[in-house]
């Protein structure tokens, strides 16, 4: 009996030692679900990722919850999509988090926009032009080709914070890039019917996606970025849609559906709901699922519009 107890004690002690010897996972806070998923894909078991915003939320209006403060306070790294997309909530949370290691410019602040060539960089920052992002349109995540660049920046950032895991992150990145390459080839075929399609979006967040798949952006329901529609603007938009024969009104899931439906109906177009973030649409928990769901929705909308016009 004594021998059995001693044996159990030794086993327990050894298991404790082994457990303590295993490297603890890197505590990573991700500002948005897209970069969260990419971090998980690249880092695997080496990272423990917590996400601040959810996919169905408007990234410009994420609530500033104190529970995020404690997560940021204890984080080893922060991954952001960047280019000012998180400006509505992240600066206030970082101010309260008291973690200088993850402040902008610090080594553990991982900016996924590092290799993005920005579009729509404003020439001036007058608010008469709406809520502009000084560094350019930050919705590059909707284009999978930009997603590859985001993944590269994240892998490099994780390696910077955790050099011992460099091999893991490089292997994770290579595998993820291979997956994205394969999916991008499939999506290019899937989205062929979108080429040349004229669309209106609710918020100006489709420019990278439209560039990749050859869609033509005709206008937005918002009067200016972040500024709600006025009756006069909607009338002009609807007339423009009729003149230009706009096929789709693309409503991002964080924005109201009824107004998009009304504009589409009066402008002779179909409404398609997409998400600007991973997880916004049903069954799209990963970045790949998110891109896939958006493109399938757009293609289905284009087909429905084509069928309705004979």
């Amino acid at each position: 009996m004594a021998l059995q107890c001693a044996s159990r004690l030794v086993t327990f002690t050894l298991s404790l030692c082994l457990a303590s010897a295993a490297p603890a996972a890197l505590r990573v806070v991700a500002s948005l679900p897209d970069v969260a998923d990419m971090t998980r894909q690249i880092g695997g078991d080496r990272v423990d990722v917590t996400t601040i915003a959810e996919g169905s939320q408007d990234p410009h209006k994420v609530p500033v919850k104190p529970s995020f403060v404690t997560k940021l306070n204890r984080a080893d790294a922060l991954v952001v999509q960047g280019m000012g997309l998180e400006h509505a909530y992240l600066p206030a949370l970082l101010e309260a988090a008291r973690n200088p290691n993850i402040m902008p410019g610090a080594a553990a602040y991982i900016d996924a926009s590092l290799y993005i060539q920005p579009l729509e960089v404003p020439q001036s920052m007058s608010r008469a032009q709406g809520e502009l992002h000084a560094l350019g349109n930050p919705h590059f995540n909707m284009d999978p080709a930009q997603g590859k660049l985001m993944a590269r920046a994240i892998a490099e950032g994780l390696t910077r914070v955790d050099p011992d895991g460099a091999a893991t992150y490089q292997a994770g990145l290579a595998k993820y890039e291979q997956l994205l390459d394969q999916k991008i080839a499939e999506w290019d075929q899937l989205a062929a019917p979108l080429r040349g399609l004229k669309i209106v979006s609710y918020h100006p967040d489709l420019i990278y996606l439209a560039r990749h798949y050859g869609m033509e952006l005709v206008g937005t329901i918002e009067t200016k970025p972040g500024v709600p529609a006025t009756p006069g603007h909607l009338e002009e938009l609807i007339q423009l849609m009729k003149q230009q024969k706009v096929a789709l009104v693309v409503r991002e899931i964080a924005y109201e559906l009824p107004l998009a439906q009304e504009v589409a109906e009066r402008g002779g177009a179909k409404v398609v709901t997409v998400s600007s973030l991973t997880g916004g649409l049903p069954n799209s928990p990963t970045y790949v699922d998110f891109i896939d769901a958006n493109l399938r929705a757009l293609v289905a909308g284009a087909k429905a519009q084509s069928d309705s016009h004979g």
Binding site: S56, E95, A96, E256
Partner: protein
Amino acid sequence: MGPARSVSRAAVALFALVALSSSDLGHAETQSQEISALKAELAATKGELAKTQSALDALEAKVEALASNGAGAPAAAPPPGASDTARIAPVNADNPGISFVVDGQFGTNTQGEQGAGFLLGTGELFISAPIDPFLRGYASINGTTDQGFDVEEAALVTTALPWNLTVKGGRFFADFGRFPHWHDEALPFVNRPASIDKLIGGESQSEGVEVSWLAPMDQYLDVTVGVYNSMGAARFDDPGAFGTGKGQRSFSELSYLVHPTTYFDLTDTLNLELGGSYLAVPTGAKRGLYGVDATLRHQPGTSEFYQGTDVGVEWLWNSERFDGVAVASDPVTGEAIVGSGRFHRDGGYAYFESFFGRRFSVGGRFDYAENPFGDKDLQRTYSAFVTWKPSEFQRLRLQWDDVGIDGPNDQRFTLQWTAFIGSHSHGFAMR
């Protein structure tokens, strides 16, 4: 003479030797003609080589001159911002973030001095910036129709202390309760609740120092301790009254604060924030101010018409000794008896605000306020308000107040127009 010239002469000699050795000795006449032709050709080649050598020498001299001192190089265009004589940084390179809030109001009432009038509720210049890697600073300079222009806040805040500590010093709104330390333009109402105005004395404006600590655990717990000359914009003591012009008093006459706050995610969309505050002036137990506050938020994060609701409640108990105030009435004459006395007074408010669409909200508030000394003059105020934001930086708010003190209730209507010039944020504290 450079090495290139020696090489060229050797090449010419070699060329001639090869040419001679390859000629046919059996044909003397032909040989003589060929030698003449070759000599002529050699002379011409020498001339060409000399010209080439001359050009090479000139180029070599230029390269050497450029490598040694850059003489002869064309002048480079000056970079933007550089003058002819110096590289000068833009004069605004170190400017902080600057914003200005304009809060205009139009109000009517039915009791007292009845009528209508316009008011500058707030004209707030807000400046903030990091000072160095360890410190940031901010200032709020505020003007109103009632009070003129004043430095409302001017404070320094550490950013890199260990153990999750932050120290703030200067003049600032002390971290008491919830709305007492909010700026007017950040409130969800047109005006500050009367209970706060009476028991705190307006905003919790103070001069002093605060230390706050964030507990290093998953559960959010923040504790602030502070020491100040006094607390309350309307209670700002005249520094001259304390003899030296710097507000000195005994340590026991300073105001001491402790304020823990915590937070719970009840569900994914429902959360609760709780706080407790205690402010004391120890001398003779001059003042003890207790406060509790709770805020329940429903934040579904959807795009539906209903987009969430905030419900908040805050209650204050103040026990304070006042000198030179009316402590009782003469039973015979009815005149006020002036003296020193301790007054126990309460007050607080409860409110809700529901958000609809992307730009609308409606809410209601009940406020219960007693005077801090003398007669209680209990004031009950029922309010309703509707807010519309044409954009993120502009807001119109209409508020109705039913104010009951003595006699018929005063019906007050206020239309508030608020706009934010520049990047304006008071950060996490006024979330």
